[in-house]
C-alpha cells in the first residue's frame, strides 16, 4: 500500500491500528502512509472510521493495537500533548477556540510556561507565523467576532505555530462557502510546497480530487486502498460505498401554474439574540415542487424553518398553507394544517430518552390514546409498521438515543411523512448521514414531491440542493438575494450569491426580493 512517495520520505506511518468500541470495530488493522509534502485525502462514508483513525494519531483516542511512526521514529501518542510534541496537529470539526479571547491568546493557549505572560511577544510570534505561512489572521481580533472561515484559519495557524509537520484537517470544508474553500485550498497548496504533510478528511469527491495527491479510502473500519488523487470520481465512489454508483433521479417539474400551496409574504423575525434575522421574506411553493433555500449557515435559514414550523414568532408578515394563516400559530396548528417539519437539529427535536415507538406518535399522541389511556399494542404495531416501511434499524422499544444518526433521521422522517403532509419544511436532511442514508432520505423527499407535496428544502449541501430543487432562493443576512430557476443554479453562481456578492449580475427569471440592502458586501 506504500504510495509513490517512497519509504524513505514518509512523514508518518500508521501500522495495524485497531480500535474497538464494544462490538463495533471502528478501525480494523488499518495502515496508512503519509508522504512528506503531500495532501493525502482520507475518504469514506460517515462511520467508516476516518475520524477515529485520525483521533488515534492526534492522541484523542487510544488504539487497542497498532503502532505509529512519525519522521521515521516510533512514537507513543497517548494525548494531544504527545502528538504536538511529535509534530502532529489537528483541526477538528468542532473548533477548540475560546470564543471571548483574541486570536493571539488562542494561539498561545496551552503553550505558556511559568507565570508571566508576554502578550506583546506572543502577538509578534503570531504575526510572524501568519506571515510565514501566508495565512491572513488578525492577532488582536476576538475569535467570537470572526467568521467560521477565519476561525478555521486561526486553528490552522495555531497548529502550525507549534511546529507541526503533519496537519490533520477533519472535514474542513463542511462549514465553508465555495470561495472560502478555494482560499483554503490555496493555503494548503502553499503549505505542502513548504514540506508540510496534510491529512484531509472528507466525503466530498470533487474536493478530494481537487486538492489531494493521494486518496486513501476507508469503509466500515477497514482501509480499502490508496489511489492517486486524480482517480475517477465514480471509481472513488465505488471504493467508498462498495457499489458502482449512487444518486437520485428527479423527474421534470410536476407543478403547473396555479395557486401556491405554501405562501410566505413579507415575513420578518428575530433571531435568538433579539436581532432581526429575517427581513420581509417572500416565497411560494407549489404542490409537487421542491424549492431549495441556499445560504451559508447563520443567514436566516434556521429562523425561517422555525417560523414556518411554528417554533418561532414572526414579527411581521404572513404564512399561509392552502389559504390558512399560520404565522405565530404554534406547532399544533401548523401540523393540523398539513405541514410536516423535519428540523435541522434532529436530536433536540426528538425525546432521545424515550423509545422509538413513543417518539413516532409524539405529534399525535391522542390518536393512540382513546379515552386518555395509551393503547400500547396500537403504538407497538404503528412502530413496527413504520420501522419496516422506512427501513429503520431499531426495535420499537429502543431508546432513540441509542440509534445512529441515519436511523434517528429516519425516525423523524417516518413520524412526519407517514402523516401525508401537504407541505414539508425540511432542514439539512442529510447532514451527518452516510451516503446510503442520504440517498434514502432524498428519494423519500422526491417521492413526496411526486405525490404532490410542496417541499421547502434548506440545505448547506449545494450538490443536494441543486440536485433536488426545482427552484432555489438564496438567503443572505436574512434577505432573499437571489432566485434561480432550474437551469441557472450552478454551484459557482450560488456560491457568489451566498457570499453576499452583488446578486444583480446573476439574477434571472424572477425578480430579486429586497436585495438592495444586501448588495453592499465585498465585490470580487
Amino acid at each position: 500500500m506504500a504510495g509513490d512517495g517512497g519509504r524513505g520520505d514518509l512523514a508518518a506511518e500508521l501500522r495495524g491500528i485497531t480500535k474497538r468500541y464494544g462490538d463495533l470495530v471502528a478501525n480494523d488493522a488499518v495502515d496508512l502512509d503519509l508522504a512528506r509534502g503531500e495532501v493525502h485525502a482520507l475518504l469514506g462514508e460517515n462511520g467508516a472510521g476516518k475520524t477515529t483513525l485520525m483521533r488515534v494519531l492526534y492522541g484523542l483516542t487510544r488504539a487497542d493495537a497498532g503502532s505509529i511512526v512519525v519522521d521515521g521514529k516510533p512514537v507513543s501518542i497517548g494525548s494531544p500533548r504527545d502528538a504536538i510534541g511529535a509534530g502532529v496537529g489537528m483541526v477538528t470539526q468542532h473548533f477548540s477556540l475560546v470564543q471571548p479571547m483574541t486570536v493571539t491568546e488562542n494561539v498561545i493557549l496551552g503553550r505558556t510556561t511559568g507565570a508571566r505572560l508576554d502578550l506583546a511577544t506572543a502577538r509578534r510570534a503570531v504575526e510572524a507565523a501568519a506571515d510565514r505561512f501566508g495565512i491572513a489572521v488578525q492577532p488582536d481580533a476576538v475569535v467570537a467576532d470572526l467568521s467560521v472561515g477565519e476561525q478555521q484559519r486561526v486553528e490552522i495557524v495555531k497548529a502550525l505555530a507549534r511546529d507541526c509537520r503533519v496537519l490533520i484537517l477533519d472535514e474542513p470544508t463542511a462549514v465553508l462557502v465555495p470561495q472560502e474553500v478555494e482560499a483554503l485550498f490555496e493555503t494548503l497548496r502553499r503549505l505542502v510546497a513548504g514540506g508540510l504533510s496534510v491529512v484531509f478528511i472528507s466525503h466530498k469527491l470533487h474536493e478530494v480530487r481537487t486538492i489531494s495527491a493521494r486518496v486513501s479510502v476507508m469503509r466500515r473500519g477497514r482501509m480499502v486502498g490508496t489511489a492517486p488523487g486524480h482517480t475517477d470520481e465514480r471509481e472513488l465512489a465505488r471504493m467508498m460505498v462498495g457499489r458502482p454508483t449512487f444518486g437520485v433521479d428527479r423527474q421534470e417539474p410536476l407543478w403547473h401554474d396555479g395557486e401556491a400551496r405554501l405562501q410566505v409574504r413579507g415575513l420578518s423575525a428575530r433571531g435568538n439574540h433579539g436581532l432581526a434575522a429575517l427581513h420581509e421574506i417572500d416565497l411560494e411553493v407549489h404542490a409537487g415542487e421542491i424549492v431549495g433555500v441556499a445560504g451559508v449557515s447563520g443567514n436566516g435559514q434556521t429562523e425561517l424553518a422555525e417560523v414556518l414550523g411554528g417554533m418561532r414568532q414572526a414579527t411581521a408578515g404572513s404564512v399561509t398553507v392552502d389559504g390558512v394563516e399560520l404565522a405565530n400559530r404554534g406547532p399544533q396548528e401548523v401540523m393540523r394544517a398539513g405541514v410536516g417539519r423535519i428540523p435541522e437539529d434532529r436530536h433536540a427535536s426528538l425525546v432521545l430518552d424515550l423509545p422509538v415507538s413513543l417518539n413516532l406518535i409524539m405529534e399525535h399522541i391522542d390518536d393512540f390514546a382513546p379515552g386518555g389511556r395509551l393503547d400500547r399494542s396500537a403504538i407497538e404495531a404503528h412502530a413496527e409498521d413504520l420501522i419496516e416501511s422506512y427501513r429503520i434499524k431499531a426495535r420499537p422499544g429502543d431508546r432513540v438515543a441509542t440509534l445512529s444518526g441515519g436511523n434517528i433521521q429516519k425516525v423523524l422522517l417516518a413520524r412526519v411523512l407517514s402523516r401525508d403532509p401537504r407541505v414539508v419544511i425540511v432542514s439539512q436532511p442529510t447532514r451527518g448521514l452516510d451516503v446510503g442514508a442520504s440517498e434514502y432520505v432524498r428519494t423519500e423527499l422526491l417521492e413526496r414531491r411526486a405525490e404532490g407535496a410542496a417541499i421547502l428544502l434548506m440545505s448547506e449541501d449545494l450538490d443536494e440542493l441543486v440536485g433536488l430543487s426545482d427552484r432555489i432562493v438564496v438567503l443572505y443576512e436574512g434577505r432573499i438575494v437571489g432566485r434561480l430557476g432550474p437551469d441557472e443554479s450552478d454551484p459557482e453562481r450560488l456560491g457568489l450569491l451566498m457570499a453576499g456578492r452583488d446578486g444583480a449580475a446573476v439574477s434571472a427569471g424572477e425578480s430579486i426580493g429586497a436585495s438592495a440592502g444586501a448588495s453592499g458586501g465585498t465585490s470580487p
Binding site: R20, Y21, G22, L24, A26, N46, G47, A48, G49, K50, T51, T52, R55, D64, Q93, H94, D170, E171, A174, V175, G309, M311, Q313, N328, G330, P331, Q332, M335, R341, P343, E344, D345, H347, A348, S349, L350, V351, L352, D353, L354, L358, M362, E363, I365, D366, F368, A369, G372, R373, L374, R376, A401, T402, S404, G405, Q428, R431, G432
Partner: protein, 379 residues
C-alpha cells in the same frame, strides 16, 4: 471495554453498598455501637414486631406523599423544592376546617378537608409556577424561599388568632372528632392497635394512580416528554408551559394533602412542628426512588423503617438519633451519586463511536441531566 453494561451496573452497586457500609459503619463505631447490632436495630428490628411494623408504615405516610409530590414535578423537569411550604399550607387548611365542623358528618368533612388542603398546597405552588412559566424565573429559588414564609404564616396563626385559649401554647385548638382521619385498626380487624390512619391508604392509592397516569396515559407521556426534552416536546406540539404549570399545581396539591394527613391523622391540631422537614425528606425519597413511583414507595418505606429503627436504637443501643440522619444522608448521596456515575459512563461509552456520526456543530451536550433550559413562552 469488554465489560458488559450489566457487569458495570453490578460493580457500581457493589461499590455503592461497600461505601454505604463503610461510612455508616464508621458513624456507628464513633457513636460507640457495634455496627452489626446497629444495622440490625436500624433496618431489621422494626420489621419483626407488628406494632413497630405498623409504625414504620405510619412514619412512611407523610414522606410517601411528599416523595410523590416531588417525583412527579421532577419528572416534568419542574424542580419543586417548595413541598415543605405547600405541605404547611395544607396543614393550615385542615386545621382551619377542623376547628369549625363540630357535629358534621365525617363523610362530608374528610373529603372537604382533603380538597381544601390540596387547593391550599396548589395555591402556594401557583406563584412560583407562574413566574417560571411566564417569565422564566428559576423555580428552585422561588419555591425554596417560600418554605420559611409558609412557616411564618403558621407561626403567625399559632401565636395570634389560633393560639390555644386554654393552655396558651402556640397550638391551634384540637380539631373536631369528625375531622380526624379514622385509624385503620378500627376498620381492619387484622391490624393491631396503632396510630396508622387513613392517610396511609390515601398515600398508597395516590402512588398507584400517579404510576398509572405517568406510565399508561397520554397525559403521563406528555409529562415525561416535557421532562426529558422540553424542546423535543414543544416541537412535537406539546404545550410545555401548560404542562409544567399543571404539574406544579398537582405537586403542590399532593403536598397539601400530606399536611392534611399529618393534622387529621397524627397531630389533630396545627403545631409549629407539624412537619419536621417532610418536604425535604420528600426530595430524598424521590431521588432515592429514581423518580419512579415503585421507587418512591420502596424509598418511603425504607426511610420509615430507618426512622423507627433509629428512634428505638436511641434506647436499646444508646445511639444518638442524629446517626439516623447520617445514615439517611449517606444513602442519598451514595445512591444518587452511583446512578449519576452509571448514566455518565454508559452515555459516554454509547456516544464514543458516534464521533463520526455528526460532522456538524449542533450536537446537543450530553444528556440533559440537570435543569432544562427555560424557554420563552409562545404567544
Amino acid at each position: 471495554m469488554a465489560e458488559s453494561r450489566l457487569g458495570r451496573a453490578g460493580m457500581l452497586a457493589l461499590g455503592a453498598v461497600v461505601t454505604i457500609l463503610a461510612v455508616t459503619g464508621t458513624a456507628f463505631i464513633i457513636a460507640g455501637a457495634n455496627p452489626l447490632e446497629a444495622y440490625h436495630a436500624y433496618f431489621v428490628q422494626p420489621l419483626t414486631r407488628e406494632f413497630t411494623l405498623l409504625e414504620v408504615l405510619n412514619k412512611a405516610t407523610p414522606i410517601l406523599f411528599t416523595g410523590t409530590a416531588v417525583a412527579i414535578a421532577f419528572r416534568a423537569g419542574y424542580w419543586n423544592i417548595g413541598v415543605e411550604g405547600q405541605l404547611l399550607m395544607g396543614a393550615i387548611a385542615a386545621a382551619g376546617i377542623g376547628q369549625v365542623v363540630e357535629g358534621w358528618s365525617p363523610l362530608v368533612v374528610l373529603p372537604l378537608m382533603v380538597l381544601a388542603g390540596a387547593l391550599a398546597g396548589a395555591a402556594w405552588a401557583l406563584v412560583p409556577a407562574l413566574l417560571r412559566v411566564r417569565l422564566g424565573i428559576d423555580e428552585v429559588v422561588t419555591t425554596l424561599l417560600l418554605n420559611p414564609v409558609a412557616l411564618l404564616v403558621v407561626q403567625g396563626l399559632l401565636h395570634g388568632p389560633w393560639k390555644d385559649p386554654e393552655t396558651g401554647f402556640p397550638e391551634s385548638p384540637r380539631i373536631a372528632a369528625a375531622a380526624e382521619f379514622p385509624q385503620l385498626s378500627e376498620f381492619i380487624p387484622l391490624i393491631g392497635r396503632s396510630r396508622l390512619h387513613l392517610g396511609f391508604v390515601l398515600a398508597i392509592v395516590l402512588i398507584v394512580v400517579a404510576w398509572y397516569v405517568l406510565a399508561r396515559t397520554a397525559t403521563g407521556l406528555r409529562v415525561r416528554a416535557v421532562g426529558l426534552s422540553p424542546h423535543g416536546a414543544r416541537f412535537a406540539g406539546i404545550r410545555v408551559e401548560r404542562t409544567l404549570l399543571r404539574v406544579a399545581l398537582i405537586s403542590g396539591a399532593i403536598a397539601g394533602v400530606a399536611g392534611v394527613s399529618e393534622v387529621a391523622g397524627i397531630q389533630f391540631r396545627l403545631t409549629e412542628g407539624v412537619s419536621p422537614g417532610f418536604g425535604y425528606t420528600g426530595v430524598v425519597v424521590a431521588m432515592l426512588g429514581g423518580l419512579t413511583m415503585p421507587g418512591v414507595l420502596l424509598a418511603g418505606l425504607l426511610l420509615g423503617d430507618l426512622s423507627v429503627g433509629a428512634s428505638s436504637a436511641v434506647r436499646s443501643l444508646q445511639i444518638p438519633s442524629q446517626v439516623g440522619d447520617v445514615v439517611q444522608g449517606t444513602l442519598l448521596l451514595v445512591v444518587v451519586g452511583a446512578v449519576a456515575v452509571y448514566r455518565w459512563r454508559t452515555t459516554r461509552e454509547d456516544d464514543r463511536p458516534a464521533d463520526e456520526g455528526e460532522p456538524d456543530h449542533d450536537e446537543p451536550p450530553d444528556r440533559p441531566e440537570g435543569r432544562a433550559p427555560v424557554e420563552s413562552p409562545p404567544a
